[in-house]
Every structure is written in structure tokens, then in C-alpha cells.
């Protein structure tokens, strides 16, 4: 009976994998890949503006990916538009959180920024809790969550079969359940964080940050192009932002671009 169950489980897993692979094989528009290739060849030949135009065209058509944002960020950087480059790198980071090239380019870009401020780091406890969220993008996290879920279901099935080593299975099932709840909550946090306008990049060369949300309010400090800020509140055309050292102030919405 156990043998038969394993055969069925194997067939079920094959079905699942086939379903995933089939669903993943989205028909890519030929024009999108053409534009991508053209963008790359123009970049490599030093025509950065035209290259950026092709990558923008892809994004405007509704297709996105980490490499598209990365390449567009590179093109903007070469064109001297450091704020747009930062914005694209930060967007690429949502798709490729572990990519070394991206991390290198972002570090290089930050080195060239006028404002050396860094956003406040989360607490160690949150870092530990959110480790999966910071290492994986939301798609990878969804796959991980599904894998844990399927393992949990298989363990439940084995437990139902009252096999001799069911205490071990029960222990494993509890561990998997804890892991599932943890990963699930991290997944929900990540989706929530990335869906909300939580972070933005300052776009103009100089952005006055004021004490209040009117033009009459005194300027608290200035930010410069490419600085990443944390959005705290929105009121009309004004946004309350925070940067490193817990400095806060209001900027006009048109001066920032949400990541």
C-alpha cells in the first residue's frame, strides 16, 4: 500500500511540475525580445539614449524584468541621469535581490551621489525574521511557499496512513507548519511593502525639503538627485519623507518617483 502511495505521490508531483513549467512558458512577444536585443546592441555600441528608449518601450508595453530595469539603469547612468538610474536599479532590485552585478552598480552609483545618507536600517530581529524576504524576490518566495506547502501536504498524507515512524513525521509536519507560517507572513509582508508606495527616489538636482506642506514653510534641508527616501505620509501634492538620521520633511510629489 505504501508503495502504491509513493507511486501516486510521484505522479502527482510530476503533474505539479508539468503544470508549473507549462504555466511558466508564457509566449513572449517577438517584438519585445527584438527591442531588448536592439537595446543591448545600441548600448554596446555606445548609443545610450537610443538604447534607453528601447528598454523604456518594453516597460511601457507592460513587460518587465530585472535585466530590463538593470540595463535601463545602466543606460541612464551613462547618460548622466543618476536619479533615473537609481530608480531603475532599485526597481531591478525587487526582481533580482541577490544579483552581484546589480549590487555593484548600485554601490558605484551611491558613491557618485551628492547625498551620502542611508535610510535607517531595520532592527536585527526584523532582519532575521525577514531574511527570506530580503534574499528572494516575490516570485521566488511564492515558489518557496508552494514547495513548503506541498511538503506539508505530503507529510500530512503520510501521517494519515499511520505509518510506524509517524512520530517523526508529526515532528516534521510541525516544523513545516511553522516554516509555512513564517514564510507566508514574510511573503505577505513583501507583497504589501512592494505594492505600497513606501520608498521613492528624488529626481531633480536639488529638492527643498520643508518643515510643512506649503510653499511658505521654511526649508529644513535640501536633497539631491538620486537619494532614496522613505514615504511616511501623503497629503495632496505633498509627501512627508524620512531619510537617514531620522530627518523628516515635506517635498512636492512631482520631485520624487516611487520605486
Amino acid at each position: 500500500m505504501v508503495k502504491r502511495f509513493f507511486i501516486y505521490s510521484l505522479l502527482y508531483c510530476i503533474f505539479c511540475v508539468a503544470a508549473v513549467v507549462t504555466a511558466q512558458q508564457q509566449p513572449e512577444s517577438e517584438s519585445v525580445t527584438d527591442w531588448f536585443d536592439r537595446g543591448i546592441s545600441l548600448y554596446e555600441s555606445g548609443h545610450f539614449a537610443q538604447s534607453a528608449a528601447y528598454f523604456e518601450k518594453i516597460i511601457n508595453s507592460g513587460t518587465v524584468s530585472g535585466p530590463i530595469y538593470f540595463n535601463l539603469g545602466n543606460a541612464y547612468f551613462k547618460l548622466g541621469s543618476i536619479a533615473k538610474a537609481r530608480l531603475m536599479y532599485e526597481r531591478a532590485l525587487q526582481f533580482m535581490p541577490r544579483n552581484n552585478n546589480l549590487a555593484g552598480n548600485l554601490a558605484f552609483l551611491k558613491n557618485n551621489l551628492e547625498d551620502k545618507t542611508e535610510l535607517p536600517q531595520p532592527s536585527l530581529a526584523f532582519k532575521v525574521y525577514y531574511v527570506a524576504g530580503s534574499m528572494l524576490n516575490r516570485t521566488e518566495l511564492a515558489y518557496l511557499l508552494m514547495a513548503i506547502y506541498l511538503v506539508g501536504m505530503i507529510l500530512w498524507a503520510l501521517l494519515l496512513m499511520r505509518l510506524p515512524f509517524r512520530h517523526v513525521i508529526a515532528g516534521c509536519l510541525v516544523c513545516v507548519l511553522v516554516l509555512f507560517i513564517w514564510t507566508g507572513s514574510v511573503f505577505l509582508c513583501k507583497v504589501s511593502f512592494e505594492n505600497r508606495p513606501l520608498y521613492a527616489v528624488t529626481m531633480p538636482d536639488e529638492v527643498p525639503v520643508r518643515w510643512g506642506n506649503t510653499d511658505d514653510d521654511k526649508i529644513a534641508f535640501y536633497l539631491h538627485a538620486g537619494t532614496k527616501v522613505n514615504i511616511r505620509q501623503e497629503r495632496g501634492n505633498w509627501v512627508l519623507i524620512t531619510i537617514g538620521d531620522n530627518k523628516s520633511g515635506w517635498v512636492k510629489r512631482k520631485n520624487i518617483e516611487v520605486i
Binding site: V64, F70, F77, N101, A142
Partner: protein, 617 residues
């Protein structure tokens, strides 16, 4: 009577917008309060602040006056009439030059109607010299010409010899000047007194130092504000007039009291202040900001402005090839410390260099900006043949002498031993110096990562894997599968453990199997065997369903059991008939001879099994 009251009230509320000034001819030392009264109106928005050539106009806010309620009785019922009152907007007009001017018509919208004021003509004449002993204001710069990034001290000083009743201060170049960094001077004198003064209509607040001062033989209260200005670009910076309009107390006069007429003059009377209006201005100033002169050919890179010294520290001095040496280059002196650029390493061919954020210590005083900036970096020798850290060079422009200077540090001797193996050094993470590791930033001349060619991860924006149908299906299917498995295993366990349940469940299957054997016997013309099997099948079925031994069942016992179960009598009769027919065929085959119809009986048995299966046993 009531009608008259209403009309009186309405007449009192005649709706109009009235602009008025206390006088139409003033001198340049006076200011004027323009009052705009919206009588009987509640404007949607206040009127726009008038732009009058030759005047500086400041809003003084608004107030409501004359609102009241009148109760009247009409036919024994009380009615309340509300008088809206008037909204009064006030503006202070400060003349900037002499001549004839016109306050233009101002308008408001109320109740979908537009109301306008009449224009007012004003004449401003040159004032007689102000008594400078009362109040005066001065603005000064430590120098009128400077280089880019050269700090300049700005001082605003107000002197009062009389008590101040109220004031309005306008500083047009604060809080910010374009392309100029403005820094507050840190006063270390803890015994000093300070006063927070609002300026520009409350838009800004500055802290003035309060002192006593003897000036031209008169004791003055002096309020002083000092700032350090660091211009960031060349050109002319204009400092417009600072205007102070204030009411000062010139003296006091004795007031009258009710007892004065009864011979008690002065007993209950109070002193009334004699207020005089003053408008004083500073002289406008300009600051010429000169660009730096062309740098000599040996000065390269960005040049800082000021006077500086340089110190270089390195540790450890003895390392293995590939191990890090922390180098601190400190530039100290006077100038725009925060804008100092990193000193250059004259030769970095045998080193890999990683730079950290610089640490700045700044003190802002009346003498300018002083302090130090420490650039910390990590140098990793790439060969053991290197024996010194090359000199660092730092160029600056000294504005006092007008010369460019270049500081060169002495080379720092180091000992680099060969590495035990040829592994590349790895320097990562760790903020603490004690750990021997440093968080470093790699300095590239170009983007370290060039281009990515992968198209496999392209997705439609917003189309995520977890929102697809198959992901949701994968979430649902395992749960459903496990529920089915649960029921399946539960039934199997019951079949194993509960004999009665097992017999009941398998009764039909067993009966059908025996009937197949019976059919074979029929094909072989073994009629007796056929009927024996047929009865056996019925017995097994009924015995299994009722959980009784199958062997002892007869037509009579079956009839009794069925009647106890209150089954359909017709069905019972058919079963009993079949039993009897089979018994006859088995036990007295010769007596019935050809009357038997085994095929019909077989069909009847199958049909009966189907009918009995529908019954809930």
C-alpha cells in the same frame, strides 16, 4: 413693529467692500495700515494682497467685528435675527520711495457676487531725519568681496534706546539665499541672553543675541544676529534693505479719573504710554563673489578654498601581501570643511584602494568655519615588493594670499611580507574596527556590471505567479486529495475491523459471484446445482446484509426476517417465491419436470438483488 426691526437690521447690513487708510499723505519713515472691510459679507476667500509699486505690503490678518443676534417677538413667537457683521482685512504698507501712488481696486466674491473697493491715491514724501537715538538698524558684511567658498560674516544689528511696544521685521535674504550656504554661529558664551524674533510675517524665526551698548553717549538695547555665508558660485549677491517697523514708547502721560473733578486729581488716574511709529531701514549691500583664478599646471583636480594642514596615519605598518592597511588622512584648518575633497594618492599602482565615508568635525564661530575632515580608506598591497605608502597630495586656494598651495604628505614606510598562498584578499562586512574588517566600497572608474542578456524572466507587469490559476489550483488540490485519502483510509480500517460492516458491504459482490457460478452450472444443464448456487447466493446476500449466518436461511425464515424489517410485501413475496421454486427444483426435480424455468429464475434473482440493494439495511 417686527417688520420695522427687520428692515432696520437689513439696512444696517448693507453689503459693500470698503477700503480705507487713516491718511493719504505719509513720509518714508511711516507705515500705513490699509483696512478692507467686507460689510455684511462673508467672502469666499480674502482679497488678494495688493501689489503697489513703491510699497512693501504685508498682511496683518483678518478679524470679524459687529456680529450680533437680535431677538424679536412676532405673534407671540420669538424669532432670532442674525447680523453677519463685517470681516476686516488689514495690510501694512511700508513706503519704499517717494511719489504719488494708487492702491488699486481690490475685490472679493461673496454669495456669487463680486464686490470691489474704490482705488485710493497716496502721496509719499521724504521724511525729516529720524531721531536715530530711538531706534536704528544696520546690516554689515565682514568683507564686500570674496572668492567662491570663502566664508563671510553677515551681521544684523538693531539698537533701541526706548521701550518697544510692537514690531515687524522684514529680512528679504533669509532664511535662504540661492547658491549660498548659510550657517549659524555657535556662541559659547553661556552668560549671554538671547531673544527669538519672528520675521517676514512670521515665516521665519531667528535667535538674536541681546546686549547693552553705549553708542554716541546713549544706552541702547542691542539685538545682534550673525551668520556665516559661504557662496557657492561667482557673481553679485544683493542684500536688500532690512526693514524694521515698530511702535516705541516715547514717554507717558497722566490719564484722567472720575475723582479728578472732586479735587482728588491724580489719585486714581493711570499712566498712558505715548506710542510713536518708526520705520527704519538698513542700507542695501552687495557681495561680489569672485571665481578662483586659473590654477597652476601642477594643481589638478578639484581645489578646496581655505587654509589647511594635512596629517596621514597608517596602521598596521607590517602586513602580509593582500592584507588591509587602514589609512587616515586628516585635513584640518579654516574654510568650507564639509566640502573638502579627498586628497589624492600620488601612485596607487601597487595597491587596491577602498574608501569609506569621511568624518567631519566643524566649529562655526565669528572667525569663520574651522575644523577637520578625516578621509579613511583601506589600502591593500598587491605585491610584497612595496615598502611605502606613496605621498598624498591636497591642493587648496588661500583667499587671504590669493595663492594656490599643494600639501604633500611624507611617504609612510611599511613592511609587506609575502602571502602564504596566492588567494585574493576578501574584505567584507563588519562595522567594528576591532574585528579587523571594514565595510568598504570598491572604487571603479565605470559601472562594474555592464549588461544583462537574459530574457527568460520577462513577465507582464503586475502578473505574478501567485495570482495565476494553476498556483491557486495547486493550493486547493492537495487539501482535497488529503480529505479523500482520509475518508478512504477510514473506510478501509472499518472494513478490516468490523466484520458485520464488511459482510454488509461485500454481500452483493459475493452474491453476484455465486450467481455467475450458477450460470455456468445452467450452461452445463446441471439444474440442481444451478438452484443450489442460486439459493446460496440469496442466502449469502441476505445473511451478509442482516449479519446472520447464511447457512440456515429458508423461505420461511427469510419471510419472517423481511416482515420484521417491514420490507415491501411484494418484494418479500417475490423472494419467498424464488426460494420455494428453487427448493422444489432442488429437492423434487422429477415432480416439477419441465415446469422449471431456470433462466427466468436467474433473471429474477439478479433483478431481486438489484431491488434489495436499494433498500437501506
Amino acid at each position: 413693529m417686527a417688520v420695522m426691526s427687520c428692515r432696520c437690521l437689513e439696512a444696517a447690513q448693507e453689503k459693500q467692500l470698503i477700503a480705507s487708510v487713516p491718511k493719504t499723505s505719509i513720509t518714508t519713515n511711516e507705515s500705513l495700515i490699509l483696512t478692507v472691510k467686507a460689510q455684511g459679507l462673508r467672502p469666499d476667500n480674502p482679497p488678494e494682497t495688493p501689489q503697489i509699486d513703491g510699497f512693501k505690503v504685508m498682511s496683518r490678518g483678518q478679524q470679524i467685528e459687529g456680529a450680533r443676534h437680535v431677538s424679536i417677538w412676532v405673534n407671540g413667537k420669538q424669532q432670532v435675527m442674525n447680523e453677519e457683521g463685517s470681516v476686516v482685512y488689514s495690510y501694512e504698507l511700508i513706503p519704499e520711495k517717494t511719489g504719488s501712488f494708487t492702491i488699486p481696486s481690490m475685490s472679493v466674491v461673496a454669495d456669487r457676487n463680486r464686490y470691489r473697493t474704490q482705488p485710493i491715491r497716496l502721496t509719499v514724501s521724504k521724511a525729516a531725519p529720524v531721531d536715530e537715538r530711538d531706534v536704528n538698524i544696520s546690516v554689515s558684511l565682514s568683507k564686500t568681496s570674496c572668492y567662491i567658498e570663502e566664508p563671510v560674516v553677515l551681521e544684523i544689528k538693531m539698537r533701541f534706546s526706548k521701550q518697544l511696544d510692537s514690531y515687524g521685521l522684514n529680512i528679504p535674504f533669509l532664511p535662504g539665499l540661492k547658491n549660498v550656504i548659510i550657517k549659524d554661529i555657535e556662541d559659547t558664551d553661556s552668560s549671554s541672553r538671547y531673544a527669538r524674533l519672528q520675521f517676514n510675517g512670521g515665516q521665519g524665526v531667528e535667535v538674536f543675541k541681546v546686549q547693552k551698548e553705549l553708542y554716541n553717549g546713549v544706552q541702547y538695547d542691542v539685538l545682534t544676529l550673525q551668520k556665516i555665508l559661504i557662496p557657492g558660485s561667482s557673481g553679485t549677491i544683493n542684500f536688500d534693505q532690512v526693514i524694521l517697523n515698530c511702535d516705541i514708547v516715547k514717554g507717558y502721560q497722566q490719564g484722567r479719573s472720575a475723582l479728578d473733578d472732586f479735587g482728588f486729581r491724580g489719585m486714581l488716574s493711570t499712566r498712558r504710554p505715548i506710542i510713536e511709529r518708526r520705520v527704519v531701514r538698513s542700507e542695501p549691500l552687495t557681495l561680489e563673489v569672485r571665481p578662483l583664478p586659473p590654477a597652476p599646471s601642477d594643481v589638478t583636480g578639484k581645489v578646496s578654498v581655505g587654509v589647511y594642514t594635512m596629517r596621514v596615519d597608517a596602521s598596521p605598518r607590517t602586513v602580509k601581501e593582500g592584507e588591509p592597511i587602514t589609512v587616515k588622512v586628516t585635513i584640518a584648518g579654516a574654510g568650507n570643511i564639509e566640502a573638502l575633497t579627498e586628497p589624492e594618492l600620488s601612485d596607487d599602482t601597487n595597491f587596491r584602494k577602498f574608501t569609506e565615508d569621511a568624518k567631519t568635525e566643524v566649529a562655526v564661530s565669528i572667525h569663520g568655519v574651522t575644523g577637520s575632515k578625516t578621509f579613511e580608506s583601506v589600502l591593500i598591497p598587491t605585491t610584497h615588493r612595496v615598502n611605502r605608502i606613496p605621498p598624498f597630495s591636497f591642493s587648496y586656494f588661500d583667499p587671504s594670499s590669493g595663492n594656490f598651495n599643494t600639501l604633500r604628505s611624507d611617504p609612510v614606510s611599511i613592511t609587506v611580507n609575502p602571502a602564504p598562498d596566492q588567494q585574493q584578499p576578501v574584505i567584507i562586512g563588519g562595522d567594528e574596527e576591532s574585528s579587523g574588517k571594514k565595510e568598504v566600497k570598491i572604487i571603479y572608474r565605470d559601472l562594474p556590471g555592464h549588461i544583462m542578456y537574459s530574457t527568460s524572466t520577462m513577465v507582464t507587469d503586475g502578473d505574478y505567479v501567485y495570482s495565476s490559476w494553476w498556483y491557486r489550483l495547486l493550493l486547493v488540490l492537495p487539501v482535497m486529495g488529503n480529505i479523500v485519502l482520509l475518508f478512504f483510509l477510514k473506510r478501509r480500517r472499518r472494513l478490516n475491523e468490523d466484520n458485520a460492516f464488511r459482510r454488509k458491504v461485500h454481500a452483493r459482490r459475493k452474491a453476484v459471484s455465486i450467481l455467475k457460478t450458477a450460470k455456468k452450472s445452467l450452461h452445463k444443464n446441471h439444474t440442481v446445482d444451478f438452484y443450489s448456487h442460486l439459493v446460496h447466493a440469496l442466502n449469502e446476500y441476505i445473511g451478509g446484509k442482516l449479519n446472520i449466518p447464511a447457512a440456515g436461511l429458508t423461505a420461511h425464515s427469510v419471510k419472517t426476517l423481511f416482515e420484521e424489517k417491514q420490507l415491501d410485501p411484494q418484494l418479500t413475496s417475490r423472494v419467498v417465491d424464488l426460494y420455494e421454486s428453487a427448493d422444489m427444483a432442488r429437492f423434487v426435480p422429477d415432480a416439477i419436470g419441465s415446469k422449471t424455468k431456470p433462466h427466468d429464475d436467474l433473471n429474477e434473482a439478479n433483478d431481486l438483488l438489484a431491488q434489495l440493494e436499494k433498500i437501506k439495511w
